[in-house]
């Protein structure tokens, strides 16, 4: 692999972690293409939310505060009148459980920062800006503001597009027709190429893939992300200990 794709050496050095405006701007810049793809998905969410019975304002409020695409789509499938509040909240919690694991991976870089910076950044942690941030940190560019910079531009795009989709209400074509549904997969794949640290990653990645594929096939919802991530990372540690 060429050197420019970088290496993820998990060597968090708290004393070298910074939190600067430049870091946030870099995060925003690097997440901008993803935010653009997210815009198309947000339009669709807005339309779906209207069809499910939410007002455009309510859908927009949800996108701004919850800011979790997968959970919001799942919840729209459950929406009814009156709103099944307990079901909706439980579904949200389950779909977002993968965040626990993602947040844990951030900890070595955020523990040296103030609570406001750490827990404020976490509010804007989504799959994509988290993945990009982990890639950055792994290459030694340890500016923790990267996460919130990327998160803010993604949240702005997601919220705006929800409002537009919810206001238009129809005439939005299926993003799959334009290949946009594959944008996130492509980003994750490209990031993976830079995260390969050598043979020690082989077993954890195979285990993660096998568990995720099986879980996606046989379990409902989004359990496959959490289960694959847990199984793969634990396999890595187990092999190391053996």
């Amino acid at each position: 692999m060429p050197e420019k794709t970088g290496r993820t050496e998990n060597r968090p050095a708290n004393d070298t972690v910074t939190f600067t405006l430049n870091g946030a701007l870099r995060g925003a810049r690097m997440c901008a293409p993803i935010a653009a793809s997210g815009f198309a998905i947000g339009l669709v969410f807005g339309v779906l939310a209207r069809q499910a019975g939410l007002g455009a304002g309510e859908a927009t409020l949800m996108s701004a505060l919850v800011f979790a695409g997968a959970a919001q789509f799942v919840v729209m499938g459950l929406w009814a009148s009156p709103v099944p509040v307990a079901t909706v909240v439980l579904a949200t919690l389950i779909v977002n459980l993968r965040h626990l694991l993602m947040g844990a991976a951030l900890a070595p870089y955020f523990t040296g920062l103030s609570r406001l910076k750490a827990y404020g950044s976490a509010f804007f942690m989504a799959d994509e800006n988290w993945a990009l941030a982990m890639g950055e940190f792994g290459k030694g560019r340890q500016d923790a503001a990267f996460l919130i910079g990327g998160g803010l531009i993604m949240c702005a795009s997601w919220t705006t597009s929800t409002l537009i989709g919810g206001s238009l209400g129809n005439a939005i074509s299926d993003p799959a027709r334009w290949g946009l549904d594959f944008a996130f997969t492509a980003v994750f794949l490209a990031l993976l190429c830079g995260m390969w640290r050598g043979r020690r990653d082989l077993l954890p990645w195979i285990v993660a893939a096998a568990v995720a594929v099986a879980a996606e096939r046989w379990l409902p919802g989004q359990w496959y992300i959490l289960l694959g991530g847990l199984a793969g990372s634990l396999a890595g540690v187990a092999r190391r200990a053996a």
Binding site: M1, L106, L189
Partner: protein, 101 residues
């Protein structure tokens, strides 16, 4: 449409639930003693999560997704450029879906 109070409550509770998952892992892991083993485990998480996100799409998605994934990996390894990789993936899927259906 007038906002309904159940809707607002549901949205606020969804916000709380989501934020709890976003800070929960960070909060817990910040309190773990960073032994070699914990640190190694945290280091394995990003790759394992990303593999879990893409594997079902690539493996169960069909020929189009598998071919597009190959194209993305080729561009990513060659250029190391995230935007180029993303555009390759979207373009490949768009073309392949038109050709293969």
């Amino acid at each position: 449409m007038r906002p309904e109070w159940q809707t607002i409550i549901a949205i606020l509770l969804m916000t709380l639930a989501t934020y709890a998952t976003r800070v929960g892992g960070l909060w817990l892991a910040s309190r773990l003693p960073l032994s070699g083993r914990v640190e190694a485990w945290l280091g394995y998480i990003p790759g394992a999560i990303l593999v879990s996100l893409v594997a079902p799409v690539v493996v169960s998605g069909g020929l189009v997704e598998a071919l597009a994934a190959l194209a993305v990996v080729a561009v990513a390894l060659k250029t190391g450029n995230l935007l180029a990789s993303m555009l390759t993936g979207v373009g490949a899927v768009l073309i392949l879906r038109t050709v293969i259906g």
